[in-house]
Symmetry: C2
């Protein structure tokens, strides 16, 4: 059952399974997209602001998206975000077991297009100890039945 | 010359070189992090909201970060963002030649730590026709000399 505009309710919560991020994952992502010493090299990272190897925030974001797409709400038409407020309260570390908790904050029909609407989701990326690695509050598109 | 808190001025602009994104890049990223039909399969994408293959917004974000790190402002201690407002006004397409324009919006010293400060950067990801694919307004950390 794909979720349409009419199905999405404020307060509904979705929780994904967990995925473990390794040192190798962190370095491979950083080599490709964020080649800074504190994401690439545990020794160099020790003397940096992060005091140890930290994942790129964009890596945390990408893993979050994978968990959302594969284990999150099954939204008709897919998960299409227009943008939102993104923050990384703490850095993701090698060995973190991450899961994603999504809560529907608001839902509205489009004023101009009766076939569409949108919802604001608060998407938190958490460790197994519920440390918050990322918060993304995003407006996503919804389609009517 | 690495940029410290004292060097960063409101209105300063940094423009990166260009990078071309291919269909293969888009699909490879999506397979790993955002496996939705409109990011994976040109045929399936044709009937989707995007009316053709579109890159994951997180792919646009990751490419933006690479351009910023390799060709953006050379900030002492690295580019460390706490978070900010992210939006994708238009989808990134195969063949897009992307560059990044960064403008310093504000700078301030830390109230509590004399060795630190921060700046808000407006980071726009643009095609060669200056179509805006992504805007990220982010607060980054700065260190004093």
């Amino acid at each position: 059952m794909k979720l349409h505009l009419e199905d999405v309710e404020v307060g509904t919560e979705f929780v994904s399974g967990e995925v473990t991020i390794t040192e190798r994952d962190i370095i491979a992502f950083a080599e490709q997209f964020d080649p800074q010493p504190f994401h690439l090299d545990p020794d160099a990272a020790r003397d940096s602001f992060f005091r140890g190897l930290a994942a790129s925030g964009w890596h945390t974001a990408a893993i979050t998206m994978r968990l959302l797409v594969t284990e999150g709400p099954d939204i008709a038409g897919g998960i299409i975000g227009a943008g939102g407020q993104l923050s990384w309260p703490t850095p993701t570390r090698a060995g973190d077991r991450l899961h994603v908790r999504t809560v529907v904050q608001s839902v509205r029909a489009s004023r101009t297009d009766p076939g569409r609407g949108s919802a604001v989701l608060k998407i938190e990326t958490l460790t197994s100890d519920d440390e918050v690695r990322q918060i993304f509050e995003v407006r996503i598109l919804l389609f009517s039945r």
